[in-house]
Amino acid sequence: MSEPIIEMKNVSFQYEYTQVLNNISFKVNEGDFLAILGPNGSGKSTLLKILLGLLKPQSGEIKLFGQPNETFRQREWIGYVSQKSNAFNSGFPATVEEVVKSGLTKKVGMFKRIPKDALLQVQDALKAVGMERFSKKNIGELSGGQQQRVFIARALIAKPKILVMDEPTVGIDHENVQSFYDMLYSLNKEQNITIILVTHDVDTVSNRISHVACLNQTIHFHGYKQEFDEISQEQLDKWQGHAVRKIH
């Protein structure tokens, strides 16, 4: 068994008077492809923000690559793909190439320029997500799914060890979701990138995923995808807080 690269112990978080996360503990091992599922308001985005160091929990302990979150400095090891819809202005005047290249900003470091040969890395990153033909297009000219792939390329260019994604399938047509997961699967297997994604959409969870965690303030289930497929309807209802039918 490999060392856990993410470890949360008894993490709780509240916004003013609302308890959002209650006593969360879980581990992610290198090479996992984990989907964190939860209905709206279950604390998924908060959990991601805590993981990324954007929010501090009131209690609990978080370790990234064995180091406490507060002192963890290698942020470039974690590639973040924000939720497309709210993070960016689709009229932004930038080409795909410029957007992907900007993923190197932190890695190159303050007071230094991005080297000229970065364009090769841009091409590699775009190839990995199947978008190499679009490098000269303006980002606003692409479809939602294509933009999402570009944002993944922007994270990949810094060669992260973990890819963290917030609702990555929002804005992708239903028929393209499977090929999107196929692409993530090949990143996971071929480049050995650990993937964590959060989604509210139980239906889109693909067989490409290795692990599933069900979140609603607290972790209701965490295990292999196969185990998740076998949990009962009552357990699902209890987790989601209201009746949702499981679709196979």
């Binding site: 990324l52 973040y80 202005n89 932004f92 005047p93 930038a94 080409t95 410029e98 900007s102 900003t105």
Partner: protein, 283 residues
Amino acid sequence: MIDAIINYEFLQNAFFSGLLIGIIAPLLGVFIVVRRMSLIADALSHVTLAGIAGSLYLSQTFTVLALINPIYLGIVASVSGSILIERLRTLYKHYEELAIPIIMSGGIGLSAIFISLASGFNTDIMSYLFGSVSAVSRQDLWVVIAITIVVFLFLYTFFKEMFVLSFDEEFAKASGLPAKTIHLLFMVVVALVIAASMRIVGILLVSSLITLPVAASMRIAKGFKQTILFSILFGEAAVILGLVSAFYLNLAPGGTIVVTSILILLIVILGKKAAMKMKAERV
């Protein structure tokens, strides 16, 4: 005009200041526009006016202070305004735009008090409101040169960080960039550029040179660097044509520069429409 520039120092001051502002205002303007902060530039320009009016009033009351260029107090007011806006924006997290009317009306209110204390409008204040070809002093030109250097240093150092921050703030924060610090520095630089620009285009029209060339550029540019390039080209064209016509027609340069910018914008919008139509017909 070239003869006149060689012969008259005041024209040199106005012309060189104009050329520099024609670069730095649209250059920063690209970041301001894509970050949807165009109105902040307007609010800051009105705060700058409060500083200028305050300085003019003080120099009337205490003659010793008459030697001090009003632009300095304008800069102080503008920079303080930019920091105040940031404080207010964090205070009203869900109503970030509320900071703009608060600061803007505060600026105009203070200006009104200082102007009436100084017993009304005079030509001095008019030249600050709408710009002037003749009122730019050598000292003003030095201030503009200094601010231009600051802008270039800032963008030379933080260009890639500013790009990430403008495109996707959440990503910038998640990748561990000091987003807050860079943003605050940016606001201070914006305040400086506004103070620098007001001598030529005037306080009421400063935001035009920051936004109009960018608006035109975004219609036709491909990518971010090209957007910057075209914005500067349009900015320079507006400043040069505006200053020349202001000089010959004896008009306030703020007016001629803004009207030229709007004409450029119209030509670009209509030209692009025509080009699209021709392309569609050919297919």
